[in-house]
């Protein structure tokens, strides 16, 4: 046996005839930041709900802290923090009352909740709003309160389902910063996302999920090295000549060529050299961009589709 904090073997979830999670294997160690990256409908949230002990697996094996989520749900959940995809705050109550109510669910005494609430409200920068009702708060503030609430029991694992979906860029960065600090404090993070930048920023290790299966696993850098090239040349042509140009580009030496609706991507070791070769063929792209490979490219390679569609 391993000392893995979470261990899944052949984990499967079916809803009627639909298979949401199709026999996935993964292991998660203490202190890691682990991500499930994939498009909507890939089975990420279903996997998270099974880990959160609110969705019994249809088949396969799952242990959390070495315990069985169906038999030992209360004991496991006592040590988990959950930030769900949809806000589930009590909007009638105040910011602080939400923490009080939630802390009581864990059987914490009032003075402990009060002391932790002080610290957590400071941590998520909501101390000045603590007596306000939740309803009028912005999406970013609600999300920060949800994170504070999920920490009231000082969890060993924090589960975050799409933690920044629907937030504006500034609010996303605040959330990322707080999650990064938690990781520094040794909290094990498990998150799902369909944002590659989020996965790259936060995850030590991730699995790429598609249609209920795990397509690849590794650190962001590993995955990029394994499934992509160091650089990518993105070319955009006049729509009138797009297809024609795309065909001619086959003459440019590249490891891979992706023809998208609006762009052509050339996966190469040296983007500038490739661009020179493109010009050498007499092609004149409207725009050209040499960039490093990202997880988006990994996903495209593995599934033939883009992440954020």
């Amino acid at each position: 046996m391993t000392t893995a904090l979470i261990r899944a073997r052949g984990l499967t979830k079916r809803f009627g005839g639909f298979t949401a999670v199709d026999g996935v294997d993964f292991e998660l160690n203490r202190g890691e930041a682990f991500g499930f990256l994939g498009p909507n409908g890939a089975g990420k949230s279903s996997t998270m709900r099974m880990i959160g002990c609110v969705s019994p697996p249809t088949a396969g094996e799952l242990t959390i802290f070495g315990l069985d989520p169906v038999a030992d749900g209360p004991a496991i959940r006592a040590r988990l923090g959950v930030v769900p995809q949809e806000d589930s705050l009590d909007v009638e109550l105040t910011v602080r009352e939400n923490l009080l109510v939630y802390g009581r669910y864990f059987g914490l005494p009032r003075p402990v909740i009060r002391e932790r609430s002080d610290r957590l409200l400071e941590f998520v920068q909501l101390a000045d709003r603590q007596d306000d009702r939740v309803e009028p708060l912005s999406g970013g503030l609600k999300r920060r309160l949800t994170i504070a609430r999920s920490l009231i029991n000082e969890p060993e694992i924090l589960l975050l389902d799409e933690p920044t979906t629907g937030l504006d860029p500034q609010a996303r960065h605040v959330v990322w910063d707080r999650l990064f600090r938690l990781k520094q404090q040794g909290v094990t993070l498990v998150l799902t996302t369909h944002y590659m930048d989020e996965a790259e920023q936060l995850c030590d290790r991730l699995v790429v999920m598609d249609a209920g299966r795990i397509a690849a696993e590794g650190s962001p850098r590993d995955l990029i090295e394994r499934y992509s090239t160091p650089e990518v040349l993105e070319l955009r042509f006049d729509p009138a000549v797009h297809e024609n140009a795309a065909e001619k580009l086959a003459a440019v030496p590249a490891q891979r060529r992706e023809v998208l609706a609006d762009r052509v991507l050339l996966y190469v070791a040296d983007g500038d050299a490739a661009l020179a070769a493109v010009r050498g063929l007499g092609l004149d792209p409207l725009t050209s961009l040499v960039r490093r490979s990202t997880l988006e490219d990994v996903f495209l390679r593995l599934t033939g589709r883009r992440l954020e569609d």
Binding site: T3, G52, V54, P56, G66, P74, E92, L100, R104
Partner: protein, 281 residues
Amino acid sequence: MAAPAQPRGPAAGLAWPARPDPVPAWNFAVRQLRFWLTDYRRTWRGSIISTVLNPLLYLGAMGLGLGTLVDQHGTASLGRVSYLIFLAPGLLAASAMGTGVGESTYPVFGSVKWNKTYQAAVSSPLRPADLFHGHLLFVALKLTMTSAVFLAVAAMFGAITSPLAIAALPVAVLTGLAFTAPIEAWTVTRTKDTSLAVVYRFGMIPLFLFSGTFFPVTQLPVWIRPIAYLTPLWHGVALCRDLCLGIATLPSALLHVGYLLVVLGAGIIAGDRSYTRRLYV
């Protein structure tokens, strides 16, 4: 290599704990009760006003106002008591039903659909059935309070003639819960709030009018009476009335209480299942 659930120390302080002592279910239910009490702190003022005002209005208008007319036509079919005295225990049971139905519809629907606080709560150690039981405890407390106020107001009107009336308090609470549990078991499965209105329109209002609250069921056509006898409200009304008039007999009391307990028990079994199905998907 050790089994995962045994205590062992792969690294300092990181051992798997032995399986912790399970927390008793009543403790979890009480945690959810405390949530509802916190929630109630926001609304108790408005709720207290209607708790006192409703019996005042009903007993005043129907009991005294309408009652004067009724009494002039003879009260033989009422058991030779004034209409006010006949009506008060019926209204006690009927208003317990009203509270029970009210608590089992929109507050529950809001928790599972609008606010999703139930979904948040099941991410804590609490299980779906704990949420259900915690809410039933809260409703029981609220029914105790509203029914006690009702009895006090009725006594002020002179509508209470027997000390046995004090036993009508737990009967009223049981009547309310016999509605709360089964309706709540159903509400939690709903996805649209429009279906809740059906409970009021086709359930509560007919029961309110035809279960012996305002006139004896014997005034109804013979063929329809068995339907009234099947409704939990009729049992609540009948027993509350017998107790308030001091004419209750033990066999009939046991029959009424037994019937209400069966309905409550069936509702709890159904709710345990439907809460789990809705919240553990």
